[in-house]
């Protein structure tokens, strides 16, 4: 399962720059809005599903080297956050779905933790 398929199936909005998402293969997923829990639980190449949309998610995502961050319930990061994510090569995706629904769909697609 590559990120392009996930973006299409979940109809996620891309907030950061486009690139070839078929080359990115997420190896699992983790959901939490508590950054320290993410630090402990999300592994590298995981999808991180969160409601948080502020600048610090970029540092967390980049330190953990996650595959992408899926920001739920239409929470929108500001321009500085998106710019920082682009600078660090992080992918930010957005959806109106709540985290629970996103997780369910990812699980159905075979993404496990």
């Amino acid at each position: 399962m590559n990120l392009q398929q996930i973006i299409e199936r979940l109809e996620l909005d891309l907030l950061t720059d486009s690139r070839d998402f078929t080359l990115i293969h997420p190896e699992g997923g983790y959901t939490s809005d508590l950054l320290s829990c993410v630090m402990a639980g999300a592994k590298s190449k995981y999808l991180w599903v969160t409601l948080q949309a502020h600048l610090n998610i970029v540092a967390v995502a980049s330190l953990l080297d996650v595959a992408a961050v899926i920001i739920t319930e239409n929470a929108k990061p500001d321009a500085a956050t998106i710019a920082k994510a682009n600078e660090q090569g992080m992918i930010l995706l957005s959806t109106s779905m709540p985290s629970f629904e996103v997780d369910g769909k990812l699980w159905e697609m075979g993404i496990r933790s």
Binding site: D17, S18, R19, D33, L34, L35, S36, C37, M39, A40, S44, T50, Q52, H54, L55, N56, I57, V58, A59, V60, S62, L63, L64, D65, A80, N86, E87, Q88, G89
Partner: protein
């Protein structure tokens, strides 16, 4: 792609029409870039075999055979007048005409490229004219070389090889720092001043530390553990201190020591803050996802030893150590 087209902004500044980031620079097809950077005169063969129009085709055949080439430019009075190739000679063979002169059978329709053009121009001309070799001329239209697809391939390979070597040397220098500098004890110290309440910069020092460790050749797993530990420590300085503090990284071949020092407010009960879930963060900070009460717990999990000392009213010192297995800072990288 038409031959004389001016390169678009996108092609010059990155394929996605924005300034090139580190990530992109990595992804841009280097061969594509080289086809613009490399000039024809850098890859063409200058060791020229030429024929004059009045020699016989059997003499040309000898030149081709001896030099293992499939065609030569025809020059008369220092002027390029045509090209004679195996295909032309095959035509002559069909007429049993090998005693005829080059002038009779050569291709007079001249397609040339100029020496200061990019190799992409030669590649386009090969494709458009269905030819395998092109005479290269200078500004005075004088023949200065020949270019074939093989020359282009070789030129690109040589350039890539050079890139690769430079990258190797760069990596080598950083990752062999500790071997190259001889002392009884070498320590590389990196210091970061962390400001209190500056959430905008939160995690910057940690990201820089992780990158530095990777550059020094640290194992990816060790760099990750350091990154997580130092991030939690950095956020603690931002969230909980009165005036910020100093984050310090000391790298030795066998050990990485990370520490934070601040001058207040201090922790009343250090055992309590080590309990998972215990947090003194404000609601505002919790809303941002901090204050889970897991920071120090995470640190403990990532490092080999952790010391926390604090005096209320004076400040806190946190020391974290990770042991580096032998042979780790040698540029080897793992999963």
């Amino acid at each position: 792609m038409s031959p004389n087209r001016i390169r678009t902004e996108q092609e010059i500044h990155g394929r996605r029409g924005r300034p090139i980031t580190d990530q992109d620079a990595h992804e841009i097809n280097r061969v594509e870039e080289l086809s613009y950077d490399l000039k024809i005169h850098e890859v063409m063969s200058k060791n020229l075999h030429t024929a004059s129009p009045d020699i016989s085709l059997s003499d040309v055949l000898k030149i081709l055979r001896v030099n293992r080439i499939s065609g030569v430019p025809v020059v008369e009075d220092e002027k390029l007048v045509g090209v004679i190739s195996i295909e032309d000679i095959v035509r002559a063979l069909q007429n049993n005409d090998l005693t005829e002169t080059v002038g009779q059978y050569m291709t007079r329709e001249l397609v040339t490229v100029s020496n200061f053009e990019s190799i992409v121009k030669a590649m386009q001309t090969f494709a458009e004219k269905h030819v395998g070799r092109l005479p290269v001329v200078n500004e005075e239209k004088k023949l200065v070389g020949m270019i074939t697809k093989g020359d282009i391939t070789r030129g690109i390979l040589v350039a890539l090889q050079k890139d690769y070597k430079e990258e190797e040397v760069r990596r080598y220098r950083a990752s062999h720092l500790f071997e190259d500098i001889i002392s009884d004890r070498t320590t590389l110290v990196l210091r970061y001043n962390i400001k209190a309440q500056n959430f905008t910069l939160g995690g910057t020092a940690s990201s820089n530390i992780k990158r530095a460790l990777l550059r020094l050749g640290a194992d990816a797993q060790i760099a990750r553990r350091c990154g997580i530990a130092v991030y939690e420590a950095e956020m603690n300085l931002i969230i909980h201190t009165t005036r910020g503090g100093i984050l310090k990284l000391e790298v030795e071949p066998h050990r990485i020591t990370m520490s934070t020092t601040d001058d207040g407010p201090g922790i009343p009960d250090v055992h309590q803050v080590l309990q998972p879930g215990y947090s003194t963060a404000t609601d505002q900070v919790r809303e941002m996802g901090f204050g889970a009460g897991m920071g120090l717990v995470n640190i403990k999990r990532c490092v080999d030893s952790m010391e926390l000392e604090s005096t209320v009213g004076k400040g806190t010192k946190l020391i974290m150590r990770i042991h580096v297995p032998a042979e780790n800072f040698n540029g080897r990288k793992e999963g």
